[in-house]
Amino acid sequence: MTSNLAGHSFNTVSPNSQPYKPAKEHAWVKFVLIGIALAYLLLILFIPAINVFAQAFKEGVGPFFHNLTEPNFLHAVKLTVFIALIVVPINTVFGLCAAWVIARHQFRGRTFLISLLDIPFAVSPVVAGLMIVLLYGRNGWFGPLLGAANIKIIFALPAMVLASAFITLPFVAREVIPVLEEAGSEQEEAARTLGAKDIQIFWRVTLPNIRWGLLYGVILTNARVMGEFGAVSVVSGNIAGETQTLPLFVEEAYKQYQTQASFSAAVLLAGLAFVTLVLKEILERKTRIKDV
């Protein structure tokens, strides 16, 4: 069983398995249990999820689209996408390297390295933000140095990138490690004995083997970067039209009693979540087909 703190790479249940029909179980037990489970999911998950859309379109589609043309909102969208464009590639490269190091080598400290990777999942995002402030803030380690060089990190884009990168550091590695181990290294060794270079082995042998797992990790990283709130809110300063990402815009608009604007932005983020779930489902099936 593979599971981790991110909770994303759990082995999911095979869809083909026949539900088990116990000989002695009464039919009512089944219906009561299903009923309770669904009622709980409805209260905790489904009603809140549906509510996002209902609130956003309460007054029809017109006000919704009107909210989407607001300058602060548009800036928040641009900033959110921009941060993702920086963080996702960096963490993908790192994730691939870390996965290769961990899955293809035995060394002392290997377990320690794996535990290190999990730290960003365990740490509260606010604490992650605090650590970045303590490093790069005015009273932080590098504060005087950065001040002298006139480089602004806290309350500016660099800190928001750092915070987002910290939060999503393990996703790609976590998804790729099991796939890499599953694939084994025989093919790579065969390619090497046939005279392939490292780069060739990576592009032609390793990458095709791990592509679905890798893609899955990238999608999760992207979703988390775009949706990150806690860590970013600590380091960003949350200035509308400047350092405000979409999740920050949702909170700010809500606090300013612009509920309609808040829900319009929330629908966009919920749409992103929906797309993520659908892609996740597709990729999981792809990996499963390969297993069989």
Binding site: L41, I47, A122, A266
Partner: protein, 285 residues
């Protein structure tokens, strides 16, 4: 954590700290990036905390307001994780054992709290459970207030920690040998006896792991809680929000002390989860 040693290794025993100089590029990138992104910030927090006078540290860490936030954060998280332990088990059970309409969609939707940004979760929970919200309006006449109370904090924690428990239990339930259950039945055990004596015991490590994962996530949760709570000290203020409030008042030592306490407890939970998973893997054999 769950990465086991593979059968085939290209390189045999290497010391992680031994030969940094002669390492290939993936090694350098991994170690370099981890140092800058992870070790540096964590040590910044720890060193800042260690410069604090121990007496002073203790005084801030155990001040009445800090103790009240630990109460809200950890006790509420634990209650939420335990409730989800119960219902998450039920949901995993129903999804694995029974067939019903829309099962595939419901199964996929369990992961919603992973994908939904926390500020959106907080926003919608605050609306649904407010006094005139879809569910809150039914609770208000009963005198139950959810949004902007500690109950709301618990609600947000239930929302974000549910998938951890379901997704930890599901594969274990799936793999469980059904013959053993049938054997128990054929030997005349009742449904309850079979459940308590045969089905439940092997599930305990996975269940505890799931609860610990959910608890860990709930303790660190910020986005949804800050919106659904009123963030009043001694009422529903959580530790994460207290850190932000301290930072906003430029009280760096206050923020650092509470942050260190939170970090320390998170690392302890991480250790516990590692041990629980090792215990769970022993059951596989």
């Amino acid at each position: 954590m769950a990465v086991s040693a593979t059968r085939d290794q290209t390189t045999t025993s290497r010391n992680l700290f031994g030969k940094i100089g002669g390492l290939s590029w993936p090694w350098r990138i991994t170690l370099g990036y981890l140092t800058i992104m992870l070790l540096l910030p964590v040590s910044a927090l720890m060193l800042k905390a260690s410069t604090e006078n121990p007496i002073n540290f203790w005084k801030i860490a155990t001040s009445p307001i800090a103790l009240a936030t630990y109460d809200v954060t950890f006790v509420t998280s634990l209650i939420a994780a335990l409730i989800n332990g119960l219902f998450g088990f039920l949901i995993a059970w129903v999804l694995v054992r029974y067939d019903f309409p829309f099962k595939r969609i419901i199964d996929a939707a369990i992961d919603l709290p992973f994908a939904l940004p926390t500020s959106v979760a907080g926003l919608t929970l605050a609306t649904v459970y407010s006094d005139n919200g879809w569910i809150g309006s039914f609770l208000a006449p009963l005198g139950i207030k959810v949004a902007f109370t500690r109950l709301g904090v618990g609600m947000a924690m239930l929302f974000i920690s549910l998938p951890f428990i379901v997704r930890t239990l599901q594969p274990v339930l799936q793999e469980m040998e059904k013959d053993i259950e049938e054997a128990a039945w054929s030997l005349g055990a009742s449904q309850w006896q079979t459940f308590w004596r045969v089905v439940l015991p092997p599930l305990i490590p996975a269940m505890l792991t799931g609860i610990a994962l959910g608890f860990s996530r709930a303790v660190g949760e910020y986005g949804s809680v800050v919106i659904v709570a009123s963030n009043v000290p001694f009422k529903d203020l959580i530790a994460s929000v207290l850190i932000i409030q301290r930072l906003e008042q430029y009280d760096y030592s206050g923020a650092t002390v509470i942050g260190t306490v939170l970090l320390g407890i998170s690392l302890l939970i991480l250790l516990a989860i590692n041990l629980l998973q090792a215990w769970g893997r022993r059951y596989d054999l």
